[in-house]
């Protein structure tokens, strides 16, 4: 059998079926057109929410640092938790903008290699940013209560607590992050949530994106 023989068989087999398919498609179309708008926003939702939240956090933390600049000059350590959170928020803002720009560029009417390349890049950025937030967010959790405490009560917690206490909390955060991943690995067979967390930590989706990029490279070469 060669491709020309395949082609003849292919054309003959499909001629009669297409009329039926056209009728079915007509029935589905109205529902599909209504659902199209929902699909459009689904991919954009997560980076959009992250961008808004991180931008709000940046503005709030900037205001907080400006308000307490005098006391922070006396106790530079007091500015550290807010600066760390500000940096994390800035990273989230940048990563969200990169994702939204890629999504805006994503056009399924482009060639297969171009579109699939953009999709694989998007997937990699998405997983990496979630990993970053999970792995940095847990060890640095203590920054949140410290900033919030100072903001609400007005007490300078960072200068009041000693360094050992701070260090112990950061170590606790790292241990909690590691523990969370271990628990996810143990329970991965029990629920989709733990499976997702476990595979996220292991970077399985990144592996898949890399496989796709590899396939694309191979395909583009003759």
């Amino acid at each position: 059998m060669n491709l020309d023989e395949l082609k003849t068989a292919w054309t003959t087999a499909h001629a009669s079926i297409e009329t039926l398919q056209a009728q079915q498609a007509m029935l589905q179309r109205v529902v599909q057109q209504q659902a199209a708008e929902q699909t459009r926003t689904r991919l954009q939702r997560a980076p959009m929410i992250e961008l808004v939240l991180a931008a709000i956090a940046m503005v709030a933390l900037g205001g907080y640092l400006a308000m307490h600049i005098a006391s922070m000059r006396e106790h530079p350590l007091a500015a550290l938790p807010a600066l760390i959170l500000l940096l994390l928020s800035a990273v989230v803002v940048v990563v969200s903008i990169v994702q939204l720009r890629l999504l805006a560029r994503l056009d399924y009417a482009q060639s297969l290699t171009t579109t699939q390349h953009t999709l694989a890049t998007l997937r990699t950025i998405r997983v990496r940013s979630t990993q970053l937030l999970l792995l940095l967010g847990l060890p640095l959790w203590i920054c949140g209560p410290l900033v919030l405490g100072q903001w609400v009560i007005g007490y300078n917690f960072p200068s009041a607590v000693d360094r050992t206490w701070l260090l112990a909390n950061i170590v606790f955060g790292i241990a909690a992050a590691a523990g969370f991943v271990l628990v996810a690995q143990r329970l991965r067979g029990r629920s989709p949530f733990w499976r997702s967390v476990s595979e996220l930590a292991a970077g399985k989706d990144i592996d898949q994106a890399n496989v796709l990029l590899g396939e694309l490279r191979q395909f583009e070469q003759s």
């Binding site: 499909h14 079926i17 659902a35 399924y108 009417a109 297969l112 699939q116 595979e199 395909f219």
Partner: protein, 162 residues
């Protein structure tokens, strides 16, 4: 329906076979085929405002349908992995096609997703230049790949009949 929707409906009806063939090339169960067909038509409708009428509708449609199919298949494999549900293709039980055509689809289904697209476009009668435009590779590359794929399919068909 407004004029854009009417024009879209007319073009889609003329070329609906493309959706059907892409769906059959990438999915094995009826439920999956229906889901993918719906997703492709959604993507077509979304992209339609950017479609330039001076260009070939079928080539434009192939690009969207194949991009959607490859993305959908990958998304489904991740979703099924997370849900711990295995995809069990049951072509024989669910197919409404003649046996010979099923055999064709099974043969093509053994290829990698991008090669599957290449063979599908060739079988649908697109010229090498058109295939190159849809896939984003050179026409020379298309010819080379088709030559290699012919040999692969011939070997696979011979193994299937023996």
């Amino acid at each position: 329906m407004d004029s854009a929707a009417t024009a879209f409906a007319a073009l889609l009806d003329t070329h609906i076979g493309i959706v059907y063939r892409v769906v059959r090339t990438y999915c094995w169960t009826k439920a999956d085929q229906q889901d993918l067909a719906q997703e492709i038509q959604l993507q077509l409708w979304r992209a339609f405002p950017r479609y330039e009428a001076t260009r070939s509708f079928s080539t434009w449609m192939y690009r969207i349908a194949l991009n959607t199919a490859i993305s959908w298949v990958r998304y489904q494999s991740v979703r099924r992995r997370h849900a711990a549900v295995g995809a069990v293709p049951d072509v024989a039980a669910e197919s409404a096609l003649p046996d010979a055509t099923d055999a064709l689809y099974q043969l093509i289904g053994q290829l990698e997703p991008f090669n599957r697209a290449l063979v599908l476009l060739h079988l649908d009668g697109l010229r090498h230049e058109e295939i190159a435009e849809v896939l984003g590779i050179s026409a020379g590359n298309v010819a080379t790949k088709l030559h290699r794929l012919t040999q692969r399919l011939r070997t696979a068909a011979q193994q299937g009949t023996t």
